[in-house]
Amino acid sequence: MPGKVLVIDDEASIRLACEKVLTAAGYEVEVAADGAEGLDRLAAGGFDVALVDLKMPGVDGMEVLRRAREMDPDLVAIVITGYPSYESVVEAIKAGAYDYIPKPFSPDELRTVVGRGYEKHELERQARMLSEERARNLATIAEERGRLLTVINSMADGVMVTDREGRLVLYNPAAARWLAPGALGRPLGEVCRWTELEGLVREVIATGGLRSLSTDLVCEKGAPTFMVTVAPVLGDAGPAAAAAGPGPGGAGPDPRAGGEVLGAVLVLRDVTELRLKERERANFMAMVCHEIRAPLSAIAGYLELMLQGVVGQEAWPELLERCRARAEGLVALVRDMLDLARMETPVRQVERFPVREVVEESLATLAPQAERAGVVVRVEAPDEEIVVSADRFELGRVVTNLLSNAIKFNRPRGSATLSWHREGDYLVVRVEDTGIGIDPRHLPRLGEEFYRVRDEATAGIPGSGLGLAIVRNIARTYHGDMCIRSEPGAGTTVEVRLACSPSA
């Protein structure tokens, strides 16, 4: 890109001469016949050098110099003067001129002076660009450090960093609650409530950064459980380390790529929920195994007794009937477990239907069971037909499970009564039985998965202990609840409330 020069002179011959010489030298040249026009052109911008005649009518050269400097501090101004006096040159330079050229001047003189000015302008421009770029880089670095600190400080996990000697050099607010005031710079063992951390840090540093450690911290009973991961902080190991990616421990760079151990970074995470879930899942699995093993043991035991001739054939029908009952129990258990699994990823199909339809289906399913048990099932339907918005399967499961319990935990010639009604936005389903009742101490835990009353009265009654858990889960899904009242020896009433927009 050629330099761009503005010539401001009231003498047309000078303007013409300058334009001719400078254009021939490769510059782009514009001209202005007086100070006002010159300032107008300068205001448009883009000039590298301005040649300004000091003596002009109207706005004189000094004024142009001052105003041009305000508009564009980088513009290189060269004054043209007919009578160069020491004073006028000093004044012009004070006003911002870079150089001067006395009239008359030769084309060579003009080219030299303008060339020098243009060069200066270019150098300044490049210097300014370089310094701007450096400033930008510094700003980026500052911003990144700030961002990194902001990220570390807003982490929910506690973060602490120590040097090689195990002295604390950085920690975030989440970690502060475990640290004594003024902890920075002091050995971790002195300032942290978890004294075992110091040993872990020493261990990680002692391995030369070869591995990370992760362990649950010892916490008081009932307090949150924290897991700490201690990873080495490695020095610059060159591009090899970066390319190697995370180490086998999952935290920090792969120390196998080399690099010096500078210290350790500790991340403390609240794993209370996670550990609780893990324990619950382990317990659930253990219960499932128990619930499957018991009927299988019974079936296998009966079959072996029969096959090995330990019991005579006259006793077989009874034992085979027991096998069938236990096999049915297993089938029901699997169904209940699938129901529970279904709760976790609901595939709900909500439609409007009369409650009566679901009730009729349940009654049909349970009729044989009720007949075997000698229990009369009564239905007290409301006068109005109640229509609800719900998943048929789920409402059916509530009715079936409640009625099934009322039949199972009943006595011969007892009864189970099903009724339902509207209460505002809620549908209330109630099942009342004349059964064995429930000891009050069991009431709070009924509805827990696999919780069953296990005593003389219930010992022969099959069931997975999941039926009420399923009902309770469904009730919660419909923003409702399950309420059990019972009198041992007299009977039990279970009421389930479901928000499912009931209407007549």
């Binding site: 382990a282 317990n283 699995m285 253990a286 195994c289 128990h290 093993r293 018991a294 009927p295 299988l296 043991s297 019974a298 296998a300 035991g301 009966y302 072996e304 007794l305 090995q308 330990v310 019991v311 005579g312 027991r322 236990r326 296990r454 005593d455 003389e456 010992a459 022969g460």
Partner: protein
Amino acid sequence: MSGASVRRGVVLVIDDDRDLLEVDRLALEAAGYEVHTATTGREGLALARSLRPDVIVLDIMMETLTEGFDVASALMDDPATRRIPVIMVSAYAQTVRVPDKFRVGQKRPGVGAGPLDGRLALATAYYEKPVSPARLVQIVDRILTR
């Protein structure tokens, strides 16, 4: 029903699953034992004290996950029952930690540990269900013919 006429000993089976009680009862009776059953720990303890059976077969998980261990402890603490061998069985997976004092039978399954410790006069053996009826008879036989 070979040997049904021979009275070889008295066995008390404590289990809250009536079918498992029935299987054990049928198998042990056929082998010539007199069998009594209880469906709860409480009932079982009472029977153990009144009957003084030769062997007790005890389920671990009844009303609570570890009721069987409580029953075994109570048996050990009572001079009247502390010398009765106990065979513990459980359908519960290994997640229930077996208290160390019951672990003797793990090392020497089915063998009485009487001399080791007065408290461990219990010939404690611990088995995971299912224990087949024939196997149970074998275990009881071995304990009682020593």
